[in-house]
Every structure is written in structure tokens, then in C-alpha cells.
């Protein structure tokens, strides 16, 4: 299920820290980078490398919002609607994206390009309303800026 390169990366991470299990979250990121999400078989595979049961791995995967358990689009658009962004009309940004992409929060466009998520504070409150496209921040969002962003990402 995991490529040789990924397995090698994982084995390196497992040796890197004072305690093996500290590598679990870094390893899950590596798995997600290869597979796009972390499936149940992937959890089992990771568990075997750590000497953990599938349930112990799943407990971690399901706790953290940045681990996806189902496939997501090439661009995961994450719109913050927490208090500071809300005060700066983040809902309008989220609604506009819903309409524009024709999907609801949590869904992926049929072409697999975009997944839309509503997220909690991303630490960019001075630039509200803020959003992330995968790891890239986009500040002071407006409808025009969304148009341009989607144009570039398409």
C-alpha cells in the first residue's frame, strides 16, 4: 500500500526522536502526502510499523482535523468563520464559495479539484476574513479575490 520511498521516510522518522511514538503524527503526514488521505488499511499499515493496534492509530487520526479519512480535492479550501473573521463577514465568503463551486461544506467538486471546508481560527485574524488553500494563506478575502484565486487554481 505504501511506496518504498514513503516506507523509507517513515523508518527514518521512527528513529529520529527520543521515543518512537513521537513520530506517529509526522508519519501520518507522510502517509497522507502519498495517499491523499488516511484510509483504514493505511492506519493498520502504520500501526504495524509502530507496534500499535489499528484502533490506537485511528484514535489519533480521528482526533486531529487535518487528517482526512476520505479522499479530498486537489485544493482544500478552508474558510475561517471564527469570531474575528465572522466580524469581517466571513460567512459571505463561505456562501460565495458554496455557490461558485456548487458544493456544500465538506464536499468535493465532481472534477476532484476543490474541497470546501469551514475551519476554526487559523491565526490570521488581522487579515480577516482569511482562508487557506491547502497550506497557503489568503488574506482579506473578497468575492473578487475568490474569483481570481479559483481562476489561478483551476
Amino acid at each position: 500500500m505504501l511506496s518504498e520511498t514513503t516506507r523509507a521516510k517513515i523508518l527514518e522518522l521512527i528513529q529520529k526522536y527520543p521515543h518512537k511514538r513521537t513520530a506517529l503524527i509526522p508519519v501520518l503526514y507522510v502517509v497522507q502526502a502519498e495517499l491523499g488521505h488516511i484510509s483504514e488499511p493505511a492506519m493498520t499499515a502504520v500501526g504495524e510499523l509502530f507496534g500499535l493496534s489499528p484502533a490506537e492509530v485511528k484514535e489519533v487520526v480521528t482526533f486531529y482535523t487535518m487528517f482526512y479519512r476520505a479522499p479530498v480535492g486537489k485544493h482544500v479550501l478552508q474558510v475561517c468563520t471564527n469570531i474575528s473573521c465572522m466580524l469581517c463577514r466571513a460567512e459571505e465568503i463561505l456562501d460565495y464559495l458554496k455557490t461558485k463551486l456548487g458544493i456544500a461544506v465538506g464536499e468535493t467538486t465532481p472534477d476532484g479539484k476543490f474541497t470546501l471546508l469551514e475551519v476554526e481560527c487559523m491565526g490570521a485574524c488581522e487579515a480577516a476574513p482569511a482562508m487557506q488553500d491547502n497550506y497557503d494563506y489568503h488574506f482579506h478575502m473578497t468575492k473578487e479575490k475568490i474569483d481570481r484565486l479559483l481562476e489561478i487554481l483551476r
Binding site: T22, T81, I83, L87, L94, V105, E120, C125, A128
Partner: protein, 429 residues
């Protein structure tokens, strides 16, 4: 004009590079400590003298925290940098990570030396992927210069630093949840005592310090604890990074002396309220800090003064709301956050946050009952003090303060089934 301490390099070109940092006297404090005969005890004494208090939210005196680490050499000790900045409204540490990572790195080396740690972890929130890369590059520079690794500057002291990224969980900013996460587990906070200084990471003595806290350390060493203490009011040493957001003209990070009033902060520094509107309310220390009304903004922003009027300085995140803000809607959004982020370990928090959100949503939808504001007050009262970690209180305090201070708005919603503010308030999704 106040001297800029933490932000002095931010406008420089390549402020994140080690050459820039060293050209401004960077790593001189480290040299002073490691080659100038400073004992760990002397470092701790200097930090105690500075009256530096933790910048993460709790405001505990840093030097005192360090002194709790047992001297017993039988177990390894760990320094952990809390860069999980997730309290809504807070974004100051991101600036340090991106613009001046070496100030943090120099601080964490001195801190690690003071507590006798040979290993340090920097735990960065998962969303800060790019800031984390800046820090990784800075760590590599520091290793190359001999400021990290074995036998630093020939002193015999060695330190290894690892950067670990979180993966999206507010609770991991709570220090014991952070330790669980570093151990590769879900972030369930631990019961205290024992405190991390005695039983922390891998059951070993551990100090967890916020990014901004550690960035102050080089300055305290170079210029003395007394100088640093003199920058702020009694018991509140130094300057502080305040993160202003919401309805102000110039939101952003401001380095200001502790003890400045909220009014000065908002009107003299952040350009006042947007669109010529009138200020209605301010959250002075991150979303979990009890809200203040417009009548309370002459408060001095230091730990004691803010506590005296029933709120807290917290993470220094100031969220400003103007007259168009529906307080029911604002509270519903804050409560939604805590309901989402409750880790599920303690029943009062897990269930209570969900109940409060349900009630707030029905009030917003025009289905509120006349006694709903009282229900909210009763539920939050059953969360406060009943949980392992402070997330329970963090969820309860906004409810208590919003409902108490803006009671008429909540009542209006419940009785008239709509908002009394012109801007119609929709339900947060």
C-alpha cells in the same frame, strides 16, 4: 516612545536569516551565558528579576516555572516550545516564527540551558506549515553556526532541537495535551498535579513555554532583569505583543508596554473603529476572556488590572466589536468553537458546550424560550471549575459574561424572535 524589543527586526530585509539577527547583536546573550560563566541558577535568577510572565495565556512567572524543575540528574529534562497558537484572535507568535525565528531559538537555547535540558521540542500548529518551514531553516542555520548540537561554543553544553507539527486541535495548546500529542497520542489533557516540571514529556521533568515568552529571554540576559522589569508596571515585566482584530481600522500586532489602556490601544494605535462606527464591546485576551463593554475600555492592560474587572489578559488577543455586532451571534460563534474543540474527556465540558450551542442557535433562529438566558447561565456555572483542563472555563466564561453584560439583547431575541440590531443576524452554520 517605547523601545521595541521583540519587533525590532521585523521590518528588516531577510529578518528571518541568521546574518540579519547576528548583525543586530543576536546570539550575544547566548555567548554571554555559555562562555561568560553564567550558571543555570544565575540565568533563572535574572529571569525571575525581570518579572517576565508567560505570554501564552496563563501569565505564570517564567523564572519561577523554571525553578520548579528538580535538579536531580537521574532523568532527562525537556524544554518544549508551545507554538500551537490557536486561541481565537491570537496571531502574534506567527509573526515571530516568520519574521524573527532566531530570537525564539536563542531564547529556547538559554532556557534549555537554565533547566538542564539537552533536548527541546518546538510544537507548531499544523496550519502554520510555512512558518514551520521558516523555523526549520533557521534551526539549520543555528546548527551550522554551532549554536545547536554538541558542545555549544566549547562550553560542554549540548542541545538538540526537534520541530513537530500539530495536526489541527485547539486543545493541544493546553500544555499537558500538547505533551500527549508529542508522545504521539490524541490530545487529552492530564490531571495536575503532578505538574509537567516534575512529570512531563515521557514522564520526565519538562518546561513548556510560549514562543513570545522565550523570545524575551535574550534581551533579559543582555540588558538585565532589572531593565526588563522596568519596562512594565509592577509584577508585569517587559513589553507585550498585542494582537488586535475585528472592527478596527488597523488590525495587527502591536508591541506595547503592559499597563497601556485598551482605549489607547484601540484609538491611538489601531486607528479607532472602522467606518466611523461606535465601539460596543471588546474581548481583551483571546476568545475565552470575559467580554468588556465600551464603558470598561479605560482598563490598564496588565494582568492584575484586567483581572480586577473580572476578565483576563490571556494571550493578549484583543477582539474589537462595533455597534453593528449582534452579541447573541458573536457568542454563538465562540461557543461553536468550544463545542467543536472540547476533547470529550470531561462530561461537563463535552456535554455542556453542546447544550449551550444548541440553546444559542435556537435563540438566533427565533425559537428561544424566555428562560433560555438563565439556562445558559446555569449550564456554564456547571462547567466552570468542573473539568481537568481550562477549556471548560474558557467555554463558560464568554457565556457568563456575554449573557450578563448584554442581557437585554438575549432577552430581546427570546421575546421578539428576532435581532434588535439593524444588521440581520443569521445562524452560524
Amino acid at each position: 516612545m517605547l523601545e521595541r524589543v521583540l519587533t525590532k527586526n521585523w521590518e528588516k530585509t531577510n529578518s528571518h536569516k541568521i546574518e540579519t539577527y547576528m548583525a543586530g547583536g543576536g546570539y550575544e546573550a547566548l555567548r554571554q551565558v555559555l562562555t561568560g560563566g553564567f550558571t543555570p541558577e544565575q540565568v533563572i535568577e535574572e529571569v525571575k528579576k525581570s518579572n517576565l510572565r508567560g505570554r501564552g495565556g496563563a501569565g505564570f512567572p517564567t523564572g519561577v516555572k523554571w525553578s520548579f524543575v528538580p535538579k536531580d540528574p537521574s532523568k532527562p529534562k525537556y524544554m518544549v516550545v508551545n507554538a500551537d497558537e490557536s486561541e481565537p484572535g491570537t496571531f502574534k507568535d506567527r509573526y515571530i516564527l516568520e519574521r524573527d525565528p532566531h530570537m525564539l531559538i536563542e531564547g529556547l537555547i538559554i532556557g534549555s540551558y537554565a533547566i538542564g535540558a539537552k533536548t527541546c521540542f518546538i510544537y507548531v500548529r499544523g496550519e502554520y506549515y510555512h512558518p514551520a518551514q521558516v523555523v526549520e531553516a533557521a534551526l539549520a542555520e543555528a546548527y551550522r553556526q554551532g549554536f545547536l548540537g554538541n558542545n555549544l561554543l566549547g562550553s560542554g553544553y549540548s542541545l538538540e532541537v526537534f520541530l513537530i507539527r500539530g495536526a489541527g486541535a485547539y486543545i493541544c495548546g493546553e500544555e499537558t495535551a500538547l505533551l500527549e500529542s508529542l508522545e504521539g497520542k490524541k490530545g487529552w489533557p492530564r490531571l495536575k498535579p503532578p505538574f509537567p516540571a516534575v512529570v512531563g514529556l515521557y514522564k520526565c521533568p519538562t518546561v513548556i513555554n510560549n514562543v513570545e515568552t522565550l523570545a524575551n529571554i535574550p534581551h533579559i540576559i543582555r540588558r538585565g532583569g532589572q531593565w526588563y522589569a522596568g519596562l512594565g508596571p509592577p509584577k508585569n515585566g517587559g513589553t507585550r505583543l498585542f494582537a488586535l482584530s475585528g472592527h478596527v481600522n488597523r488590525p495587527g500586532v502591536y508591541e506595547l508596554p503592559l499597563g497601556i489602556t485598551l482605549r489607547e490601544m484601540i484609538y491611538d494605535h489601531a486607528g479607532g473603529i472602522r467606518d466611523g462606527k461606535v465601539i460596543k464591546a471588546v474581548i481583551p485576551g483571546g476568545s475565552s476572556a470575559p467580554v468588556l463593554t465600551a464603558a470598561e475600555i479605560d482598563v490598564k492592560m496588565d494582568h492584575e488590572s484586567v483581572a480586577a474587572i473580572g476578565s483576563m489578559l490571556g494571550s493578549g488577543a484583543v477582539i474589537i466589536m462595533d455597534e453593528t455586532t449582534c452579541m447573541v451571534k458573536a457568542l454563538a460563534r465562540i461557543t461553536k468553537f468550544y463545542a467543536h474543540e472540547s476533547c470529550g474527556q470531561c462530561t461537563p465540558c463535552r456535554e455542556g458546550t453542546g447544550w449551550m450551542l444548541k440553546i444559542l442557535r435556537r435563540i438566533l433562529q427565533g425559537e428561544g424560550h424566555a428562560d433560555d438566558p438563565d439556562h445558559l447561565l446555569a449550564i456554564q456555572g456547571n462547567i466552570q471549575g468542573m473539568t481537568i483542563c481550562p477549556l471548560g472555563d474558557a467555554a463558560a466564561l464568554p457565556v457568563q459574561s456575554f449573557v450578563t453584560k448584554f442581557r437585554q439583547e438575549f432577552d430581546y431575541h427570546c421575546v421578539h424572535k428576532r435581532c434588535d440590531i439593524e444588521s440581520a443576524c443569521a445562524v452560524p452554520a
